[in-house]
Amino acid sequence: MKPTKYLSLAIALTMLSAVSVADISPDDVPFDGSMQVNESLTGKAGDPTEGRKVFANRKLGNCLACHAASDQSDQLFHGEVGPSLDGVASRYPEGLLRTLVINAKKVFSERTVMPGFYSNEQGARVAEKFKGKTILTAQQVEDVVAYLTTFK
């Protein structure tokens, strides 16, 4: 999906819900046949600057635990468990990047080690503190996705 189209969709969604848009809940995310989630989970556009922080934050995305990214060269340690994300926006359309962050198992297989950041598919014995919660909020997912789209 082209950024312009996405923007207009986001604006349209925001206008539809002048008061407030309830986020799409993890169980209601519409994964279509192409595995792309083309709508914003919150109806709002993501903020790449926020996304950059969520990406690095050990208590939030902590994407750097497993991925290297040149844009994060101010951070000392980058992981090697997953591939480098440089250029990922040229490889994947935005809708697929969104699916990847929401629940990578939909794109890869059940066997991937990449956690689902907005998914109720979690392991056994989830710690009390995190029970019934997704790793990221819908808006944080949007922010990370917006950030990833800058990885051209």
Binding site: F77, E80, R125, A127
Partner: protein
């Protein structure tokens, strides 16, 4: 102050060149090629995996640590765990409990009687009807033979004793006997737990220590999660910790509710992980970051 820290630096600088012969540079893509030599004795840190082991080749966790951390373990005078080992030796000879006995009353010289014990732990106990870990065996002796109170799993005295007893097997290959009693069942239960995805991050032990050892997970260099060096002195802990403390830490990190230290689940997991390292040398007490 300044002079003191400078002289400490010199101490370090002197230590490293003496070890430099056996150390190569750190490679991040896998285990490094360094050799562990303690007091002139080479301790092998890798070995062929036995048939049926899911790992292609076995490597001690030492091979994944930084040169600085490796150096601490390569010298018993630098190894911070040896304060506890000394305490363990003292406790070995100290009478405790209503029977008026110490460990040495029954076992005499630990260097002889305890050689090989760590290498076969956990081991089946008929009286218990389950595997003994080093901790439960020590407590069984305390309660049944000495009439002494048992120690908590992570008590300083317990850590000191498991380090001291474990040291007597240093260099000997891990060799569990799964044929005894119901060891195989405990192993299989541990294997299930090892492969079960837990926590909000939805990961199993195997996800990190099976398929991904040798890779960096942010600032940490993933090892095979072997247990041959325990109890280990962790710089982060500022002291010794048991195998079950490490399991708990890994489960906490993936946002799972850990099992309790000493629980059947952790004992089963310990049986499985120990056997997964069958053939690696005991390195107790290891040093970790």
């Amino acid at each position: 102050m300044q002079i003191k820290s400078a002289s400490r630096l010199v101490g370090r600088a002197l230590l490293l060149p003496t070890l430099a012969l056996s150390f190569s540079s750190v490679a991040f893509a896998g285990p490094d090629e360094n050799q562990l030599i303690i007091e002139g004795e080479t301790i092998s840190t890798d070995t062929k995996a036995a048939a049926g082991n899911p790992l292609p080749h076995l490597y001690s966790g030492w091979r994944f640590r930084s040169i600085e951390t490796q150096a601490l373990q390569a010298d018993d005078f630098e190894n911070p765990a040896f304060t506890a080992v000394d305490t363990g030796e003292e406790l070995w000879n100290t009478v405790d409990g209503s029977a008026g006995k110490s460990c040495s009353s029954c076992h005499n010289d630990a260097a002889e009687s305890m050689a090989g014990v760590r290498a076969k732990m956990p081991s089946w106990s008929d009286s218990l009807g389950k595997p003994h870990t080093m901790e439960t065996q020590i407590n069984a002796c305390r309660e049944e033979q000495m009439g002494a109170e048992k120690w908590k799993w992570e008590a300083q005295d317990m850590l000191a004793m498991t380090a001291y007893v474990g040291l007597q097997s240093r260099g000997m290959p891990v060799a569990l006997d799964l044929e005894k009693g119901e060891m195989q069942d405990w192993h299989d239960k541990g294997e299930d737990l090892y492969n079960t995805r837990v926590g909000q991050l939805n990961l199993s032990c195997a996800n990190c220590h099976g398929g991904n050892f040798g890779k960096m997970i942010r600032a940490d260099h993933l090892s095979q999660g072997q247990t041959n060096g325990f109890p280990v002195y962790r710089l982060k802990w500022g002291g010794l910790g048991s195998i079950h403390r490490r399991f708990k830490g890994c489960m906490d990190n993936i946002r799972a509710t850990p099992y309790k230290r000493g629980s059947d689940e952790f004992i089963a997991l310990e049986v499985y992980t120990a056997n997964r390292g069958q053939g690696l040398s005991v390195e107790t007490p290891s040093v970790r970051n």
